[in-house]
């Protein structure tokens, strides 16, 4: 589904990613771990198409086509979703309006007519339940006045609404208490299917107790320094990163 080959990316001339290779297949969950500043968030931003980063080398193929040629919106329309580490507040745009616009823009891309009001409401209700979100959130401004946990739930709610093929969750667990973490993780598990995939970026093993990865990558200084099964996450939790970095 996703092939990243020899990816180099920099910001303001400073190289952050120094040759990344990752291959993700349908039905898989990949975890990317690593200490602060290793390039985890840069990788997710590059995948979603943030133009503050410049890809200097390498390629990314998503479902057979060159991802790097696509605008952020076209990547989303093709099935990429980025769960933000810091979801953005947009005062004046209600959650309902935001989601309706997003869904209709994506439907337009697929030559589908706009979603009917009844259908949309049903979908909202159904997906809000997935993350145990109160219906009062729908009329509020996007993320405005939301707590850290509510913002992350809102990310998973949006994921549920848009049904992406590949979801990249950038430190979705940061700032979450254990109950919110469980809700978010349960949401992801409900949305996991044989025909979609997840890349979960996290600092801690904690989230991976709930979302079990098929592959764990350890990213350090812009390179993948270790790749193994889910047991690697446990080992990192126990021993830290130093033994990998100094290896």
């Amino acid at each position: 589904m996703l092939e990243i080959k020899g990816l180099h990316a920099s910001i303001n001339g400073k190289e952050i990613l120094k040759g990344i290779d990752i291959s993700v297949n349908a039905g898989e969950v990949h975890a990317i771990m690593g200490p602060n500043g290793s390039g985890k968030s840069t990788l997710s931003a590059v995948l979603a198409g943030r133009d503050t980063f410049e890809v200097t080398q390498g390629e990314i193929t998503f479902r057979g086509s060159n991802l790097l040629e696509l605008s952020p919106e076209d990547r989303a329309r093709n099935g990429i979703f980025l769960g933000f580490q810091y979801p953005v507040e947009i005062p004046g745009v209600s959650n309902v309006n935001f989601m309706k616009t997003a869904i209709n823009e994506q439907r337009k891309f697929r030559n589908l007519p706009p979603i009917s009001a009844a259908e949309f409401l049903k979908l909202m209700r159904e997906k809000m339940a997935v993350v145990e979100m109160d219906s009062s959130f729908s009329s509020r401004g996007v993320n405005v006045g939301f707590s850290g946990g509510e913002k992350k739930r809102n990310e998973i709610f949006q994921l549920a609404m848009l049904e992406p093929v590949l979801s990249i969750l950038d430190e979705t667990d940061s700032g979450l208490d254990i109950d919110a973490l469980r809700v978010v993780a349960a949401g992801v598990n409900k949305l996991k299917r044989a025909d979609n995939a997840f890349i979960v970026i996290t600092h801690y093993q904690r989230l991976l107790d709930y979302i079990v990865p098929d592959v764990v990558h350890v990213l350090y200084d812009g390179r993948i320094i270790k790749r193994a099964g889910k047991e690697l996450a446990l080992e990192v939790e126990e021993r830290g990163y130093d033994w990998l970095i100094n290896a």
């Binding site: 953005v88 004046g92 823009e105 994506q106």
Partner: protein, 348 residues
């Protein structure tokens, strides 16, 4: 679509069909400053031509509570292209209630210069909501001087929605003359091309216990200009005054310019006053967030612009009117104004 109750006369071009108001709206038409057609709203309310031929007097007798909306449509066309100056008087008696929509338009592309005085007297205990909608051609220069006198315990709110025009100047001179009176002035202005909008506010708190709130927000594109000069004056005796003023501008183009001069002049010592002015640009983080959900760049920019003026439009208390005006703001920002042959309003 809703048909107006108004019967069109030959003087009033057929193309003009305003569908902004609600069906139960009472309409009056003013062409080139002259009151042409009117329907007497109801008992206790009258609209008549001023003695000086141009301009009109709108009078609501004491204790008259008018639940219907009154729309006064004032437009200019090629029948009179001279520079015009005229005065309208709006008198709201004590304990009255009124909802008024004032629309100004130009029907032809002639160069118009219009200087309009709107004298508003709000009697004690009256509640008045006025929405001003300005949609004029690129050759129209229009100055509206609002002069307000607000008596005790009265409430007046004016929401100005400025959609289009070459040089539009809205000048407010408010006297809070009676204790416990409240005045709210809100405005949304959308300018692009080489358009200019100027807003001047002089808010005079003359007596104690009055409240004033001002919120003006504008979106500026291309080489447009917006100026806001707002002064709050609190007299020595006007204790317990609350006065707030805010002007925020969203600059879409690097060549657009916004000038703000917020001023406070306070002679009393027990007051709550604030003022603030900002100018900013679209938020890149919000744009990327929206695009990452599949919303196209243009649509994301539009959503952000609509969000920017949302809180001002929220102040329009009539929900249906608010929705219609919000739709107009949206189509204006989308550049989707429909064009009837020689009509500039494009409100439909």
């Amino acid at each position: 679509m809703i048909e107006s109750k108004f019967k069109y006369t030959p003087e009033i071009p057929e193309v003009f069909r305003c569908r902004v108001p609600l069906p139960q709206t009472i309409q009056a038409f003013v062409t080139n400053g002259v009151l042409r057609e009117r329907i007497d709203p109801c008992e206790g309310v009258s609209i008549s031509a001023s003695k000086g031929e141009k301009g009109f007097d709108y009078v609501v007798n004491d204790d008259c509570q008018l639940s219907e909306n009154v729309q006064i449509i004032s437009f200019r066309d090629s029948a009179d292209t001279e520079d015009l100056t005229f005065t309208n008087n709006l008198v709201f008696g004590s304990n009255t209630e009124s909802n008024i929509l004032l629309c100004t338009h130009t029907l032809t592309l002639d160069s118009f210069k219009t200087e309009e005085y709107v004298k508003i007297k709000v009697g004690s205990g009256a509640r008045v909501n006025i929405v001003v909608m300005q949609n004029e051609h690129n050759n129209s220069e229009h100055t509206v001087n609002f002069d307000l006198n607000v008596e005790s315990d009265a409430f007046i709110r004016i929401n100005v929605v400025t959609l289009h025009g070459a040089i539009l100047i809205n000048d407010f001179n408010v006297k809070l003359a009676g204790k416990g009176s409240v005045c709210e002035l809100n405005g949304v202005y959308l300018v692009d091309g080489k358009q200019t909008i100027k807003t001047n506010v002089q808010m005079n708190h003359l007596v104690p216990d009055c409240i004033s709130r001002q919120l003006f927000k504008g979106i500026l594109d291309d080489e447009s200009r917006a100026t806001f000069t707002g002064r709050i004056v609190v007299a020595k005796d006007a204790q317990k005054t609350e006065a707030y003023q805010a002007n925020h501008n969203l600059l879409i183009s690097p060549s657009a310019k916004a000038y703000a001069q917020p001023q406070l002049e306070i002679y009393a010592d027990d007051v709550k006053c604030s003022h603030g002015a900002t100018s900013g640009r679209l938020d890149d983080n919000a744009l990327f967030y929206m695009r990452s959900r599949g919303i196209g760049k243009q649509e994301a920019k539009l959503l952000q612009q609509l969000a920017f003026v949302y809180d001002v439009l929220e102040n329009i208390n009539n929900e249906q009117l608010r929705i219609r005006l919000s739709d107009l703001v949206e189509s204006r920002l989308r550049g989707e104004f429909g064009h009837c042959t020689n009509c500039s309003m494009n409100c439909c």
